[in-house]
Amino acid sequence: MNGEAERTVAFTVNGSPWRGTVEVRQSLADVLREAVGLTGTHLGCEHGVCGACTVLVDGRPVRSCLMLAVQADGAQILTVEGLAPGPDQLHPLQEAFWNHHALQCGFCTPGMLMTAWALLQEHPQPTRAEIQTWLSGNICRCTGYQNIVEAVEEAAVRMAGEGGRA
């Protein structure tokens, strides 16, 4: 087995199947942005430090800059584009971010939303400390974090009121 330089991969993104040939050294983030055309996933540092590229792979939050696209073969991927229930609608997390002014430039926001989504899956009623710990892997240069934490708190309350996650 000498290995290959290219491979065909197939995965599901936001419910839709995608299939294509990728260079084995391409990150999942690059393939999502450049080949699939979903540019909502942002790339800040490209070495695992900032969290902007966070997407859900098989339900777990991962750094898409640290995963090769070939490794996603067969996976279910959720990106920020897949959060909202429909066109012209927002996910409760997105709405709470809007209400709380939890974004300024918005660069970190996709990673924040995807991480918060994963947090609420595991802890539907998180404590403030849990929110801070989970978001500690996401860097924001604008907001000072306070409003992001408050937005996640509000989203948790609203989602519980709606009888579970949207």
Partner: protein
């Protein structure tokens, strides 16, 4: 495109993986969780010709309890180990430490064996393995060997692993301690620690410490046990003053060196304070608490 070009192999069985490594080990890199390797690829600090992705190798993702050991396979993610009932009940020190390893998104992919193979001097998992006297199971085509942690970690980012070997599991002694604690200091939550301390204590019915393990990282090229601190605790009643003496023993025994992150003096100070804190916490976990003196 960040990494330099490489070829990619994704073996499905352990034999296949070992065969690839025996042929190409010298120019290959094993890819597990990728949370240390991929940053190095992206920064082009690593330029392997071949990446051997072990994520699809069958049979490496189990946590097992046998013969007094908890064995954690090469594909067990830090995220899963953190939540694993066997780990939490039998190796609570490891469960305590895992919460300090990076962030949830890193732990979702990162493996325990990958952290051990990487041997970052500030990493938590090698510290726990060293403190508890754990072992590393390394396989190569045609055989495997088991190395005690102290023989595995040679220097910073340097282990006894040969290029044709794969870490298939780490093994940690199951149970044995009533009180354990892990304390570290890092400038920001989730960062690598400047200094970390792991403590495990066993005491008799009267509360007298029978056996103590004290390990520290951040004050040398690898994590290490501090037998002087362990000796200072053995035979003592659980008390804050015994914890203080353990902290002083650590400060006296370690040879920290300063770097851009912290001076030698500051690291020594942290080692003392964190040891005292961890010993006090470990004493309290058993339920009896620590008397104020």
């Amino acid at each position: 495109m960040k990494p330099a070009p490489f070829r990619y192999a994704a073996p499905r069985t352990l034999d296949e993986a070992l065969a690839v490594l025996s042929q190409h080990g010298a120019e290959a890199k094993v890819l597990a969780g990728g949370q240390s390797l991929v940053p190095l690829l992206n920064l082009r600090l690593a330029r392997p010709e071949l990446v051997v992705d072990i994520n699809r190798v069958a049979g490496l993702d189990a946590v097992r309890h046998e013969d007094g050991w908890v064995e954690i396979g090469a594909l067990v993610r830090q995220w899963d180990a953190e939540r694993d009932p066997l780990v939490r009940s039998q190796v609570p020190l490891l469960a305590q430490a895992l919460g300090y390893v990076a962030h949830p998104q890193i732990r979702a992919r990162g493996t325990l064996c990958g952290s051990v193979a990487h041997a970052d001097p500030a990493a938590e998992i090698p510290l726990v393995l060293t403190t508890l006297g754990g072992e590393v199971v390394a396989a190569r085509a045609g055989g495997s060997r088991t190395l005690p942690a102290e023989a595995f970690f040679l220097d910073l980012f340097t282990t006894a692993l040969a290029s044709d070997e794969l870490v298939t599991a780490i093994r940690l002694p199951a149970g044995g301690f009533q009180g354990t604690a892990f304390c570290e200091f890092s400038p920001r939550e989730g960062d690598f620690a400047l200094v970390a301390v792991a403590v495990a204590l066993r005491w008799d019915a009267g509360g007298r410490i029978q056996e103590a393990r004290v390990g520290v990282s951040g004050v040398g090229p690898t994590a290490r046990r501090v037998v002087e601190a362990e000796a200072a605790l053995a035979g003592e009643e659980k008390s804050r003053s015994a914890a203080q003496r353990a902290g002083e023993a650590v400060a006296a025994a370690v040879h920290a060196s300063g770097d851009v992150h912290a001076s030698a003096e500051y690291r020594r100070h942290l080692a003392r304070v964190l040891t005292e804190r961890a010993v006090v916490q470990a004493m309290a976990i058993g339920g009896e608490g620590v008397d104020a003196q």
